[in-house]
């Protein structure tokens, strides 16, 4: 295996790694990306199989602990009410993400100033707006302009159909006088730049065999590889190397497909392994200079882990909702309760997301992310015949505030197949989040009834969905102050000048929207900053 030094080494071939590489292409530097997983062809996605739903519970589970593939690392979530989910491979978790594409909102970047909680970001919406637009063009985003919940922006493609389910719920929101809008989605509503439009298969989590979903495997990577970026798969990084004399990163050690440990040297190292994978590698990179992990003089690496805790309410309607037809997570989105309202007993807010319902097996097993099967026997017959076809649901997606005790550490025992310590998640819901979930559940009930639901289904307890750790944020947060942040305002580690982070771990707050649009916009922004500072990058 060739290990000649490169100019830029990116660790991780997912959403953020691909985007930052695209941004840097024009510098004509020598690029290498190390990815622990494999390439997967759209021909290998399980939605082409007759028994496609089974894959959700085996090789295509969103949960790496269920998949247990060689390229996956186990995650110890025993001390968490939410377990992280992901995909390890070219495209990262955009392989199995659901492509809901809302932007963060202006207030999300200013929570300390506006609401007295958490910290303001070093960047704001206006600074990121051109990068949102740039990324939307690269990915192919469908939606409807003019959403009064955002500063105005236009999208290239019209919205995907919201369907009978979306129309029904929209009428309910209108009756309540509440905000809603067709979802922005990284899914093609029309054939676009050589890619096929969505065929409404409803299995976005099983890969998109149509190529309509804007995963990095379909968008950025074909461009990057055509431009000469080297992508090495089955290469798992175990440690970031730092020179004691200069304090600069010199490269990484990684396990290659040959089973051996290799050293890869680079002028610039960019971490793009998501909000669990990146702190894991930083914490595992201990040296005399960094006894608590590289770039961790602040002690903040791994802390402030944020998810988006979820709960849901479903309504049973009189007519079939055909919820299995169309993209899984995206129909309409209400942000009526997104901004802080002093009359409520919590700060910040949440969104009400209308996903579609799912296929019969997944429903019978309790729904996506839940795995709590419906009853057997006569009750089963009744639920599948008289409930399942008539369902339309709302998911309450709450903003998670950063709390230092919610964190990623290294498990003292558990390792991956190369012997690298596995991440351990310590996470509990904040009181603010619990109040938000309760409020959201009640509002979801109201709007479903207003939409015509004849019956409501919800969990009586206050548990959140277990396999809901899609959005992993905050564990290497941005900030101006090296004492309480890991990277500066453009993604560069305070402690190591040529080490950058571009994934969700640099989020300061979480917002209450799916983060991939913001992750990629941030990666493009960091790339732009690197280019702007290329002549004095290490000063």
């Amino acid at each position: 295996m060739q290990n000649d030094p490169v100019d830029v080494l990116v660790v991780g071939a997912g959403a953020s790694g691909a985007a930052v590489l695209w941004s840097l292409l024009e510098t004509r530097m020598k690029f290498l990306c190390l990815e622990q997983g494999l390439r997967i062809s759209d021909m290998d996605f399980p939605s082409r199989d007759a028994d496609y739903e089974l894959a959700r519970y085996g090789r295509f589970s969103c949960d790496p602990n269920v998949r247990g593939l060689k390229q996956d690392y186990p995650i110890n979530s025993d001390e968490s009410c939410i377990t992280p989910v992901n995909w390890n491979g070219v495209g990262g978790s955009t392989i199995n993400f659901l492509a809901h594409w809302p932007r963060m909102k202006p207030s999300d970047f200013r929570t300390a100033t506006l609401d007295g909680v958490a910290e303001d970001w070093p960047v704001d919406y206006a600074r990121l707006e051109p990068f949102y637009e740039m990324n939307d063009r690269n990915v192919g985003v469908s939606g409807l302009g003019g959403n009064p919940a955002y500063p105005n922006y236009a999208l290239d493609l019209p919205p995907i159909p919201i369907g009978k389910l979306g129309q029904t719920l929209a009428n309910g929101f209108n009756r309540m006088g509440w905000h809603w809008w067709p979802s922005d989605v990284a899914i093609l509503s029309q054939d676009h730049e050589g890619r096929q439009k969505c065929v409404n298969a409803g299995t976005c989590d099983l890969g998109c065999a149509a190529g309509a979903k804007g995963g990095a495997n379909f968008t950025y990577w074909p461009i990057l590889e055509n431009a000469g970026v080297e992508l090495r798969t089955e290469c798992r990084v175990r440690e970031i190397l730092v020179d004691k004399g200069t304090g600069l990163a010199t490269g990484v050690l990684y396990h290659g497909p040959d089973g051996r440990v290799h050293e890869q040297r680079a002028e610039l190292v960019i971490m793009a392994c998501n909000g669990v994978g990146t702190p894991r590698l930083l914490l595992n990179s201990r040296s005399g200079m960094f006894p608590e992990g590289v770039a961790n003089r602040s002690g903040m690496v791994g802390r402030n882990l944020m998810f988006h805790p979820l709960t849901g309410v479903s309504g049973v309607f009189d007519e079939p909702m055909k919820g299995h037809e169309g993209p899984m997570a995206c129909s309409i989105l209400s942000q009526e309760f997104y901004e802080t309202d002093p009359d409520r007993n919590f700060v910040r807010g949440y969104g009400l997301h209308s996903g579609r319902s799912t296929t019969p097996m997944t429903f019978a097993l309790g729904g996506y992310g839940i795995d709590d099967p419906i009853p057997w026997g006569n009750q089963h017959r009744f639920i599948m015949d008289d409930i399942y076809p008539y369902l339309a649901g709302l998911t309450v997606v709450t903003e998670d505030l950063p709390e230092g005790h919610n964190r990623v550490t290294l498990d003292p025992v558990l390792t991956d197949s190369d012997g690298i310590p596995a991440p351990k998640i310590s996470y509990r819901l904040g009181e603010n989040t619990k109040r938000m979930l309760e409020h959201g559940k009640e509002r979801a009930k109201e709007v479903l009834l207003a939409a015509g639901a004849r019956k409501l289904l919800f969990k009586d307890d206050n548990t959140v969905w277990w396999r809901a750790g899609w959005h992993q944020m905050g564990t290497c947060r941005m900030g101006h102050d090296p004492r309480n942040s890991v990277v500066d305002g453009w993604g560069r580690c305070h402690d190591v000048k040529n080490l950058f982070i571009v994934d969700g771990s640099i989020f300061v707050t979480s917002g209450a929207v799916n983060p991939t649009s913001t992750i990629q916009a941030l990666a493009l922004y960091v790339g732009e900053c690197i280019k702007d500072n290329i002549y004095n990058l290490f000063e």
């Binding site: 939605s47 007759a50 017959r381």
Partner: protein, 148 residues
């Protein structure tokens, strides 16, 4: 692995877990889920065959011929077994659902097509711009709803 008699009992158990619809439109799981599915289910559970063995043993300890019982009696027995060995019973339920609803002939009875969803997918008509305009009009009329 399983004798003919055990397979008959397993089939009857499956018919109680997912019963047929009274009009016969939807078949019970006993007629749909083959024993082979459980034998190949190690990718979904640690020891599926062992769990089913435990459930079968629990049933046979309570009756010599489960299949000959009427439905209320079968259900009573299954509830007892479920209480006595909840983890094994839960795994059988879970695998029964997986084996049943993964069958292409079953899906259309609940809406989705029998075929793999790719490449054909489903036809969902685009809403007209007039419909979307009408639906979003009240939202637009209320005006801006974000802070800076």
């Amino acid at each position: 692995m399983w004798s003919e008699a055990e397979l008959r009992v397993l089939s009857s158990i499956l018919d109680e877990l997912i019963p047929a619809s009274p009009d016969g439109r939807v078949p019970g799981a006993g007629a749909v889920v083959a024993a082979e599915f459980f034998r190949s289910a190690a990718q979904y559970a640690v020891d599926p065959v062992g769990a089913i063995d435990v459930v079968l043993a629990g049933v046979s300890a309570m009756t010599e011929d489960f299949s000959a019982l009427d439905r209320p009696e079968r259900i009573e027995i299954l509830k007892v077994v479920e209480t006595e060995t909840p983890e094994n019973f839960a795994l059988l339920v879970r695998l029964a659902y997986m084996g049943y609803y993964s069958r292409p002939e079953i899906r259309p009875l609940f809406g989705p097509g029998a075929q793999p969803v790719h490449p054909r997918g489903y036809t969902v008509p685009d809403e007209s711009s007039e419909l979307i305009d009408r639906l979003t009009k009240p939202v637009r009329q209320r005006g801006r709803c974000y802070r800076t």
